[in-house]
C-alpha cells in the first residue's frame, strides 16, 4: 500500500464514497475501484495495517500478564459491553470499541449488546467467518407466513454474485445439495472428527429431515491462484483468528479486498473520520457527500462524491441517515416511509445441549479447527413449522475431548490428579441453536432526544426485545437438541436456554434498520439497495435485510453489495444516477 492511500482534507469530487471498511465496505470499495471509479473509503477509526498491526499475533498465553484475561479496572472502565463477546480477551481487546467513548442507550427494562470494531477492517478482523448462502425459502419467508415485508429479491438475483464473492473470498465447505442451504463455490471442507462422523450417521438415521454437515468457513483450506496472488496462504489451524492473521488465511478487508482495491490506484482512504451526516441538495434531490468529525481532534471536514454507499453497520448506517435531517426529510434522509431504524433484528443464539459421546478413546485430533459442524435449518418453510411458533433454527456445534479447564473441577489432589489433567478426557459434543428473529416494527433504534457523543452526534437509543415467538422457539430448540443427542446415543446430556437472560445484539448479526422492499411506503431501499427517495444513496450492509434467516449474514452482505455496485456503476454510466 502506498502512503498516499490515506488522505485527510480533499476537495475532490469522487465517483463514490464508501462509508465503512468492514466486510461490506471493503467489497464495495474493491468493486468500485475495479470498475475504474475514483473511490473514497471513509473509516471512523484508526488504520490497522495487515500483519504490522496484529500486535498480539503468535503470543502465547504466558506472554500476557493476566494470561489473556482482561484487567478488571480496564474492563469496567472501557469494555462493559464488549466483554460479553466470546472473542474479547487481552489478546484481542485492541480491535474492540471503547464503550466509554461509544455510548448508546436502551429503553428501560430492555438491553441490547452492541459489539463495536471501529478501525480499518472493522469486524472483518473479528468475525466468526461462517459463510452460508440464503436460499429461496429465506427470501420468500416473509411473504409465505406474513411476518415482515417481502424481500424484493430472490435467490436467482444473488446466485451469480454469491459465486463471484466466494471465488474471491475462499469458502471451505462440502456440496450437500440442500434446497434450504445452497452449495457455494467450495474449497475443501474442514475435517470432521470420528465422533462427529458417528453422530452424523446416527442423527441422519433417526431424523430423515435433518443433516449434519461440516460448517462452511471463509478459510483457505486449499488456496487458489487468485488467493495466492492476494498474498494469502493455507490456514494453519491456530484458531487465533481474532488477533489478525498474517497468513491471510481467513478473509478480512486487510487480507483480501483492501489490497485488491488499492492495486487499482483508484482507492483513497480517509481514516479517523467519523461521519456525522450526509450533505443533501434539495434542488437536485441527491446527496453531495458527507460531513465528518475528526475522530481525534474533533475538527470538521467534508468529502464529496457522485454516489454514497453506506456500509457503516446496521446501526451505524441508520444512525447517519437519521441524523441527516433536511427540509424534505425532517425525520431522517430517505425516510419518507417512517420505517428507518425499525425492524431491528439479531439472531437468537440462546439454547442448546451438550453430551458425552461414549468410546473413541483411541481417537484424537490435531490442530485447532477454526469452525464446527452444522445441522441446517429443518423448519425452513411453513409446512415444516413446529406448532406454536413460526420459522426455524440451525444447530451449530462440534466435538472435543475434555481437557484440563473442565477436568480441573473433578475431585483429586496430588500426582494422580495432575497426571489426569494432562490427558485427553471424555469426548463431548454440543449443538447450539441459531434461531431466526422475526421482523417487528416495535424493535427499533432511534436518535436519543438529548444526549450526544463526543463527536456531537446524537446517541443511538435502542428498544429491542425477544418476542414470544423467539422464546417458544428457544424452548423447543433446547428440547430438540437434547432429543437429537439422546437419539444419537450420547450420555450425560446437559442443556441450556438463556433467552430470558441474554440481550439481543450479542449474536452480532444485527440487521434490518433500513430494509429493502418493493413498496416505498414500507421500505427504505429498492431491490438494488438504492434508497427509494434518493437515487445516489445506497445502503448495502445488514441494515438492508428484510429478515434474518438462520444463516450467518456476512456472505449475503458481500453478495448484495457487489450486486448493488454493479447496478450503480451501470446506472451512472447510463447517466440515470
Amino acid at each position: 500500500m502506498t502512503t498516499d492511500l490515506y488522505i485527510h482534507e480533499s476537495d475532490q469530487v469522487y465517483d463514490a464514497i464508501v462509508v465503512g471498511s468492514g466486510i461490506t465496505g471493503g467489497f464495495a470499495a474493491k468493486e468500485f475501484c475495479e470498475r475504474g471509479m475514483q473511490t473514497l473509503m471513509i473509516e471512523r477509526g484508526r488504520v490497522v495495517e495487515h500483519r504490522k498491526d496484529y500486535i498480539t499475533e503468535g503470543k502465547a498465553p504466558w506472554e500476557f500478564e493476566n494470561r489473556t484475561k482482561v484487567d478488571n479496572l480496564l474492563t469496567e472502565e472501557k469494555y462493559a459491553v464488549q466483554k460479553k463477546c466470546y472473542a474479547f480477551s487481552d489478546a484481542t481487546k485492541h480491535f474492540f470499541g471503547n464503550d466509554k467513548d461509544l455510548p448508546y442507550s436502551t429503553e428501560e427494562g430492555t438491553g441490547f449488546d452492541w459489539i463495536r470494531a471501529n478501525q480499518l477492517g472493522g469486524k472483518s478482523l473479528l468475525w466468526h467467518r461462517q459463510s452460508y448462502r440464503f436460499s429461496d425459502f429465506d427470501f420468500s419467508a416473509n411473504k409465505a407466513d406474513g411476518h415482515g415485508n417481502d424481500w424484493p429479491i430472490r435467490y436467482k438475483d444473488l446466485e451469480s454474485w454469491y459465486s463471484y464473492v466466494e471465488t474471491f473470498v475462499g469458502i471451505s465447505g462440502s456440496d450437500e445439495n440442500l434446497e434450504q442451504l445452497p452449495n457455494s463455490e467450495f474449497l475443501p471442507p474442514l475435517e470432521m472428527t470420528a465422533p462427529e462422523i458417528h453422530v452424523k450417521q446416527k442423527i441422519e438415521q433417526h431424523f430423515p429431515d435433518r443433516q449434519l454437515i461440516m460448517g462452511r468457513t471463509a478459510h483457505l483450506t486449499k488456496p487458489t491462484q487468485l488467493h495466492l496472488e492476494q498474498g494469502r496462504v493455507t490456514c494453519q489451524a491456530r484458531s487465533e483468528c481474532h488477533k489478525g492473521c498474517s497468513f491471510g488465511a481467513y478473509f478480512s478487508t486487510q487480507s483480501s479486498t483492501l489490497p485488491a482495491a488499492a492495486k487499482t490506484g483508484n482507492l483513497s482512504i480517509a481514516p479517523n473520520s467519523v461521519v456525522h451526516s450526509l450533505i443533501y441538495d434539495e434542488k437536485t434531490k441527491r446527496v453531495k457527500g458527507v460531513r465528518v468529525v475528526d475522530n481525534d481532534d474533533l475538527s470538521t471536514r467534508e468529502y464529496f462524491a457522485k454516489v454514497v454507499f453506506l456500509c457503516a453497520s446496521t446501526l451505524g448506517s441508520a444512525q447517519i441517515m437519521l441524523n441527516t435531517k433536511t427540509k424534505s426529510f425532517p425525520n431522517g434522509i430517505a425516510n419518507s416511509s417512517g420505517v428507518l431504524g425499525h425492524y431491528l433484528m439479531d439472531h437468537n443464539f440462546n439454547a442448546g445441549a451438550i453430551g458425552t459421546v461414549e468410546g473413541f478413546e483411541d481417537e484424537y485430533y490435531s490442530g485447532r479447527r477454526p469452525g464446527g459442524i452444522l445441522v441446517p435449518n429443518f423448519q425452513y418453510k411453513p409446512s415444516l413449522y413446529k406448532q406454536g411458533y413460526v420459522r426455524g433454527y440451525g444447530l451449530a456445534g462440534g466435538s472435543h475431548r475434555e481437557n484440563w479447564p473442565t477436568n480441573a473441577h473433578q475431585p483429586g489432589i496430588g500426582a494422580d490428579y495432575k497426571t489426569k489433567l494432562t490427558k485427553p478426557g471424555r469426548w463431548r459434543m454440543d449443538l447450539n441453536a441459531q434461531g431466526e428473529m422475526l421482523p417487528r416494527f416495535d424493535n427499533y433504534m432511534a436518535l436519543h432526544p438529548t444526549k450526544t457523543d463526543k463527536w456531537g452526534i446524537p446517541l443511538i437509543h435502542i428498544d429491542c426485545t425477544w418476542s414470544e415467538n423467539e422464546k417458544l422457539m428457544m424452548a423447543d430448540a433446547e428440547q430438540t437438541a437434547v432429543d437429537m443427542l439422546t437419539k444419537a446415543g450420547l450420555i450425560e446430556i446437559e442443556s441450556y436456554n438463556s433467552v430470558d437472560t441474554r440481550n439481543p445484539g450479542i449474536a452480532i448479526h444485527e440487521v434490518g434498520t433500513a430494509r429493502m422492499g418493493r413498496d416505498p411506503k414500507d421500505s427504505v431501499l429498492n431491490s438494488f439497495n438504492q434508497c427509494h427517495d434518493v437515487d445516489n444513496l445506497f445502503v448495502t450492509d445488514g441494515a438492508s435485510f428484510c429478515s434474518t434467516a438462520v444463516q450467518n449474514p456476512s456472505l449475503t452482505f458481500m453478495a448484495i453489495t457487489v450486486r448493488a455496485v454493479d447496478y450503480c456503476v451501470k446506472e451512472m454510466k447510463a447517466r440515470r444516477i
Partner: protein, 212 residues
C-alpha cells in the same frame, strides 16, 4: 497423631529447591529470622508449635493475602500439583499467579472466597492435626484437602470455594510456559487440522489454546 516428624518433612520440602527460598523469606518476614530458621532447621518442636498457633492476620499493606495466607497458598499449590516428571505448581509460580490473577481479573466475591477457603483449610489443619497447614506431612495435606473436596462434613460453599481456587491454580499451571509446553503437547502453529489421529493412554492433551 503425628509428632515432630512434620518438621523434617517441611525441611525436606524446602532444602533442595531454589525457588522455595521465597517461602523461607516469607516465613522470616512473618515470624522473624530466628523463629523461621528455628522452625526450618527442624530442631525446635516448641517453635514449630508456636508457628502453628499463630492466628492469620489480615494484610496491612493493601494486598489481598496476609503473609500467613500466602504460605498456606504456597503449600496448597504444592499439594494439589506436586512435582512429578514435570515441575510442581510452585515451581511454575502458581502461588504468585493466584494472588495476581485474583487481584486483576476476578470479582471481590471470588477474592473473598479464596481468602476464606485458605483460612478454612488452615483452621482444619489446626483442628485436626494441631498444626498449620504448611507444617503437615504431604500425606496429611492431601488427606485434608480430599476431605474438604468430597466429605459430607464440608459445606457446599466450602466445596465450591475450594473448587474455584483449585481450578485457578490449575489455570495458572497450564497457561504457564512449562505447563503448556512440558506437561501438555503444545502446538504454536499446528499447520492444519486433522480430524482423526490415533491416541492411547500415553497421549498428552494439546497445550493451551490461544486465549481463554
Amino acid at each position: 497423631m503425628p509428632t515432630n516428624s512434620n518438621i523434617t518433612e517441611l525441611e525436606k520440602k524446602t532444602c533442595d529447591e531454589d525457588n522455595r527460598r521465597v517461602f523461607m523469606k516469607k516465613m522470616a518476614a512473618l515470624f522473624g529470622a530466628t523463629t523461621a530458621a528455628a522452625v526450618l532447621s527442624g530442631c525446635s518442636v516448641p517453635m514449630a508449635q508456636q508457628f502453628a498457633a499463630q492466628r492469620p492476620k489480615p494484610p496491612q499493606n493493601g494486598k489481598l493475602f496476609s503473609e500467613h495466607e500466602l504460605t498456606v497458598l504456597y503449600s496448597l499449590c504444592e499439594t494439589i500439583l506436586p512435582k512429578t516428571d514435570t515441575p510442581s505448581g510452585v515451581e511454575v509460580g502458581c502461588h504468585e499467579f493466584v494472588p495476581h490473577q485474583l487481584q486483576h481479573c476476578h470479582t471481590k466475591q471470588q477474592q473473598d472466597d479464596c481468602i476464606q477457603i485458605i483460612n478454612t483449610v488452615d483452621m482444619q489443619a489446626n483442628n485436626e492435626f494441631g498444626k498449620t497447614f504448611p507444617l503437615l506431612q504431604p500425606q496429611q495435606q492431601q488427606q485434608l484437602l480430599t476431605k474438604i473436596e468430597i466429605d459430607d462434613k464440608s459445606s457446599d460453599i466450602q466445596k465450591e470455594q475450594f473448587s474455584f481456587l483449585k481450578a485457578l491454580i490449575v489455570f495458572g499451571y497450564f497457561t504457564s510456559e512449562v505447563g503448556a509446553t512440558q506437561a501438555l503437547n503444545y502446538q504454536a502453529v499446528p499447520g492444519s487440522f486433522i480430524g482423526s489421529i490415533p491416541a492411547n493412554s500415553d497421549t498428552k492433551s494439546w497445550g493451551s489454546l490461544a486465549y481463554y
